[in-house]
Structure formats: structure tokens, C-alpha cells
Symmetry: C2
Subunit: 200 residues, 2 copies
């Protein structure tokens, strides 16, 4: 359909913004954002820096696009959960399930998000959105505890930390497509967190 | 008791090896091991590089001492568990509990261990010991599953990843002494992992 002479939709060959972002995020995750220069990106992409500047104003815009991809996914889940009429513990389970699915779908972006330490305004804004998400989680845990739906001897603040520590730990080992069980991962996390491993 | 003229036991003032290691590990965890030079350590310690070389051959020896501190702690727990007559699921619970306690006691060293990516022989040796520990965990999970002590619908490989992902995630937020619940943390992790959050 598209022969060699077909006009391209963009002025620069090789990369659209999406493909450029994918490569940039891999480089950020390997070298660290602070340790990545525009030269490094230019080399990894095999295009001139000027071709990168055709798409973005610099590496911080690539960082922002990546962190927003992860955060927008997580906030979309939180918005869905908020709009669902359900008990706090059911909402918590939906939030965990949806977060694991976002992590699987946007793995490089969530990995980058979890490594952010707040060295730039973009990173500080991302950390503030993470804290907002964490406050929503903590509120649901406290409500589930008040509802009597959590074991009474558990500290809600620790529970909230452990629950999303468990979810986030998946970035350390999960690689898409490596297992036939990709589809079952979110179920597995929920089963462990809410019902525990022990058969009874 | 020790006046200004009292002889010091060591030739160099200010730091013994233990105190030097504690500062070095903080710097490694903040700047990254690769990003830390002997100059950085000298500045953080407020002593000359020659005074550091009085104790160690260089920064890689400090890295090795730190990683061994974490790994020796974890292997001591595994050795205790191995010597205990108990079912696989009981051993697994003791291993989780003991690992959380090592993490609390040796927090900076375990944090460093979990960030190691294998860029030096010392890091590769540490990663090999981590894999050995992980294989022990995975073996216990498989045995517990064969014993019928785990929910039958859980994949043992994923369970092993999630269980120690949960344990290791504690380094992301736990700070000793910040909570009256320090003593209860290992219990809390075991309760979540083995019994689940949901009251029944």
C-alpha cells in the first residue's frame, strides 16, 4: 500500500514521538535519568540531537511524558474505583488489580516512576501525584478497617505501605510475555494480599 | 576517664572501620555506588583519602563489606531455618520473618544489596549469593505447594517472586525508630502474606 515514494506524515524519518519515547525511557531506566545526556539519547536512537529537538524540547520533556503515562494510568484506575459503588475493601482490591494491570501495560514508564527521587521540578510534580495516589490508598485501608473488613491486629498505615510495596515490587522481576501467566498476575497479587498464601 | 592525652587504640583519629563503613554506605545509597568516588567518600567523612586507605584497599572493599553484612544476615536466617524440623510452609514463614528482621537491623546494607546491578566482580558475587537465596525460597514454595499448604491456584514461581518482593519493598519506606510498631513489622508482613488482609 505505501510504496517507497509515499509521502511520510512527519517531516523527520525514523521515529515518531511514541517510538522515540520508548527508546528514551529504556535509556533512562538503564543509565538513570540524571546520568543520561542528549548525546546518549542521540546515540541510542541513531539520530542527530536536532532530530530529537524536532519532537521535544529536551530530555526533561521525555521524562515528563513517561511519568505522565504511568501516573495517568494509575489515576484512571483510581477514578474508575472512586465512581464504583462498592465497599472500601472491594475498592481496594479493584485498585490493586487495576494498578498491576497498568504496571504490566506501562512497565518501562512505571519502572521509571518508581525510581524518581525528586531532583527536578518534573520529578517533584510526579512525586506529589504519587503521594496523592498513596493518600487515596491509605484512606481506603482506614475505611476498610473501620468497616471491620481487615484483620483487627493490622496497622492501617503499615498495611497501605505493604500493599503497594507488593504491587510495585513486580517491576523488579516481571517481563511481559515471558510467562503464560501474564493474564493471571493481577489475580495472583490480589489472592496473596487479600486471602493469603496459606490453604485452609 | 580518657583525657586529652590518653593514647588512642588506633593510629588514625575519628573513624574505626565500622563507623567508616556506615558513612560510606549512606553515600553509596544516595549517589549510587558507580557515581561515588574516593573523593566523595573523603569529603563525606571529613578525612583524607590516605586515612580511608588505612582501613580498606578502596571503595570496592567497602562495597563488599556492606553486601556481605546483608547477605551473611540473610544466610544465617536460612541456615537456622534449614536446621529447624518443620514443614515447608512453616520454614517459609520463619524465613520471611527472619528476613524482615535482617532488613530492619541492616537497613542501609540491604538497601545497597537490592540496588546492585552486577557492574563489578564484587556485585556479581553478591548477585550470585542472592540467586542462591532465591533458589532456596523457590524450593520451599514448591515443597509447600506439594504439601497442599498453599492455595492450589497459585503459581509457585510467581508466589516466590511476590513473597520476597513484599519483604524487599520494606526498604522503600521503613525507617527505624519512626514507629512504635518496629517490633511488629515482621509479624505484619507474615500476616499479610500467609493469612491475607481480609477478615473472615
Amino acid at each position: 500500500m505505501t510504496g517507497a515514494a509515499a509521502p511520510r506524515r512527519r517531516g523527520r524519518p525514523g521515529y515518531d514521538l511514541e517510538a522515540l519515547l520508548a527508546v528514551a525511557v529504556e535509556v533512562f531506566n538503564t543509565r538513570g535519568y540524571d546520568g543520561t545526556s542528549m548525546e546518549d539519547l542521540s546515540r541510542a536512537l541513531g539520530i542527530a540531537k536536532s532530530a530529537i529537538y524536532h519532537h521535544v524540547s529536551g530530555k526533561e520533556e521525555l521524562l515528563r511524558l513517561s511519568l505522565d503515562r504511568a501516573l495517568d494510568g494509575l489515576f484512571a484506575v483510581a477514578d474508575d474505583v472512586r465512581a464504583t459503588p462498592a465497599s472500601a475493601i472491594e475498592k481496594l482490591e479493584r485498585l490493586v488489580r487495576g494498578s498491576v494491570e497498568v504496571l504490566q501495560r506501562e512497565l518501562p514508564h512505571v519502572t521509571l516512576l518508581l525510581r524518581v527521587r525528586g531532583n527536578t521540578p518534573t520529578e517533584q510534580a510526579a512525586l506529589e501525584r504519587r503521594r496523592q495516589f498513596d493518600r487515596y490508598v491509605a484512606g481506603l485501608v482506614r475505611q476498610a478497617e473501620r468497616d471491620g473488613d481487615l484483620h483487627a491486629d493490622l496497622d492501617p498505615a503499615i498495611t497501605a505501605h505493604l500493599l503497594f510495596g507488593l504491587v510495585n515490587s513486580v517491576v523488579e522481576w516481571y517481563r511481559p510475555g515471558k510467562r503464560a501467566t501474564d493474564a493471571a498476575l493481577a489475580d495472583h497479587v490480589c489472592r496473596l494480599a487479600f486471602d493469603g498464601l496459606r490453604a485452609r
